[in-house]
Symmetry: C3
Subunit: 330 residues, 3 copies
């Protein structure tokens, strides 16, 4: 089933300049869009690409009304990037209509009779949902996801392939040079509208639960330790790791490969750069960074060697300052 411009604006709003009957064959970036495709200008800095785009129609900010209309057919909207996002959703829905008659629980999935799966939830092939687990309305598990005992997902969550929810937290008591297992008796509680990327792991709590609040977005290969709490609408990029019992506020962003150590508290609105290590609690919203800047290897080697003497270099500067003071004012 196709989409035309008229159907799009009747579903998503916006001010259409162009033929409502124009069929749309796809969505593409400005530069590569061909005749028949719909494109969008998300940021004024790409304005130059607008003029030359061959797209059938372009989604543009109302602020660029004149430029857009000079080019040709367009949909004007206050938030073109948001409009684009919703268009992708509409597009996907249209494309997938014919596949809707698949069973909601794939026959190869292993769902415990004591698990609670909402009738509108979809459980992909080869998933495992253990007893006591709860999967909310319209939540989708892609293939090969594990939801372990008593873990709870809210509504409209999307969980990608390979995710493990409810593995044991990493808890051991040292004893005679070995490690005594602390059984992880808590579970994982995930709110509504949470997306969890491929092969990400969320450990169950030791006594209480690990909690992921509404609207959180986790990318792939992320590690969330036991008893962590991630606040609403926080987003984390791939390969990030959050150690046990850390509390991360709402509306934070955590960059790829960043590490948050255990038992810390990070306030709302904190942004951590990629590959940075958070070693102390952060009470102030803001942007925090800590990684070694990339350099040509030879220069890095020299600077890295000097870095190992930095504290003594500082002493030498102090000593120079003192000597100079003596010389200066004898």
């Amino acid at each position: 089933m196709g989409l035309n411009l008229g159907l799009i604006v009747s579903a998503l709003g916006g001010e259409l300049h162009g033929d409502p009957a124009q069929e749309i064959t796809g969505i593409a970036p400005l530069e590569t869009a061909t005749v028949g495709q719909l494109s969008f200008l998300s940021h004024p800095k790409y304005q130059q690409q607008l003029t030359h785009s061959q797209a059938a129609c372009v989604i543009v900010s109302t602020q660029l009304r004149a430029e857009a209309m000079a080019r040709g057919p367009c949909i004007l909207t206050d938030e073109p990037y948001l409009y684009f996002a919703r268009l992708t959703q509409l597009w996907k829905k249209t494309q997938h209509i014919r596949h809707k008659n698949q069973p909601n629980i794939h026959p190869s999935a292993v769902v415990d009779p004591e698990a609670h799966v909402h009738h509108s939830a979809r459980i992909g092939a080869l998933c495992v949902v253990e007893r006591g687990a709860r999967i909310g309305a319209d939540t989708e598990l892609k293939p090969r996801v594990t939801v372990a005992e008593n873990c709870v997902l809210g509504m409209r969550c999307l969980v990608h392939s390979g995710v493990v929810i409810g593995s044991d937290g990493f808890g051991f008591a040292p004893h005679d040079g070995a490690w005594e297992k602390i059984e992880q008796l808590g579970a994982v509680r995930i709110g509504d509208d949470v997306e969890i990327g491929a092969n990400t792991c969320i450990d169950r709590g030791a006594l209480d639960d690990t909690v992921i609040e509404d609207g959180v977005k986790l990318d792939n290969l992320i590690q969330i330790g036991h008893n962590v709490r991630v606040g609403k609408h926080t987003a984390m990029a791939g390969c990030a790791g959050v150690a046990g019992s850390a509390t991360i506020g709402a509306h934070c962003t955590i960059g790829g490969g960043a590490v948050v150590l255990g038992h810390l508290t990070i306030s709302d609105g904190v942004h951590i750069s990629a590959s940075s290590v958070v070693t102390r609690s952060i009470a102030q919203p803001g942007h925090y960074t800590g990684f070694f800047p990339l350099d040509d290897n030879a220069r890095w080697e020299k600077n890295a060697a000097s870095l190992k003497q930095l504290a003594s270099l500082r002493e030498r500067i102090r000593s120079l300052e003192n000597k100079l003071k003596t010389l200066d004012s004898p």
Copy 2:
């Protein structure tokens, strides 16, 4: 089935002050424990929480006998954290008794007829155990684990969902600008009492085996390269990576996201901080660290820019020192 205080001390020892018939409904931290729950004080610094805890009973060090008894029912023990660990084990066992009659090999698991699975081992749903693999007594594979050809796990291991044991090591010979595969002919040998976290990978050796010794604890999303050897009771936190042919001693700890480069030897008793990179062998036990300290992004930018000139700053200090020497002693 419930647990009462009498059953607990008869199983785990300790000096009970309180009613042995008191039923326990759960285990909880001091601050949140409600009437009926058992709690523990693992460290004297939380002593203040003891006084106000509503727990039915608290596990406390014998050193705090007076304080504990002043509050009310308690179990006194020399090692309260260890006691707590064992209590969680006892608790879990009690809770799970009714589920014990599940088959040891889940019918959805794919176990090769030429694999050797001990009759007491448990293989979870949708696991794959390839031919020649050996799974020891009382070892448990959670759902969706792969144990590839000829890999061996000892007794009482716990392997979490998504783990891959015996994937090929990353070995290629460069040839005409491309990579020629080196088939990985070794396997993985894992000792007794090893725990392996969700989605962790342990590669098979190139010629010899990759070896994980007894009592090693690996958290989630860890990468262990081919021919690595990890010594007894070493623990690694999530997202750590160990490159090929590294040898890590016994009783080490490797922090989250840390990287150990290939072909290195790390002695027993070495502790590596999170996100640190080990680039040379370490012969001395101790605590080693190497990550850029987190800072406000603007300050980080300034310091990072200066860092790229650190070697030349060092030269400038030396030059200043020389000049000052000349001035000082003309």
Copy 3:
């Protein structure tokens, strides 16, 4: 079935000095090879091990003809490491002949009727291949691999257990403090002779495809974001992460745990050290590094503290230089 030296040189070439009828029982490093095993000397620096090796035969560079023949049986070749690589392939093939009559698609795999799997491809146990996906000739998926809708793998690829190809890219439009999903409408296109390590994830593109070119080798637990392009014969070590829309050239190497930020372009022939963060495009081939050097924790603490004042230390040096200039030339 066994291999003897004669069969080996007739398959792989090289100049044999020794008995062609000598049976080979295995391949082993020089130091541990026992009588009956074949070994190799890949680098002249291990020459000392040659003399004492008990191997039945050793693969050696023609440059070390005299030394090799003085020891005993050998195969002389211009590229002993490449020869070794091919020997491992020959060895594996010989060992696996008897298992060849397994079905190409494991009965437990879930392959959509609208997926296209070449008749010579092998799909392991508990894999999921979704509709529209294409698996090329002689490509092998190990157990528990996901290839999502419309993703394409070329010929002779090897995909290890737990890999997820075609999970959604991480794309959201911010809206009223929450995140609006951007459906990921592209796919993943993977060339020929690509190897993908265990639990690695490759996200589908937002509009266009994510592309992995011929001969690329990815280790375990790597994250490849949406719309990334990785050029021919580039190799990445474990735990590396490449953020969305980055373009990496051909013949690059990316070290373990390294991070490449989004929308960057890295030219051909760039080598990134382990745990380094690439924050800008790199136009020049070369070796680039950026990680904090490991140190004893106490020294690291001192240096890290000083690092937070580095920009001001630089100012103090400048100020000292100025003062000294004034003193020097009054």
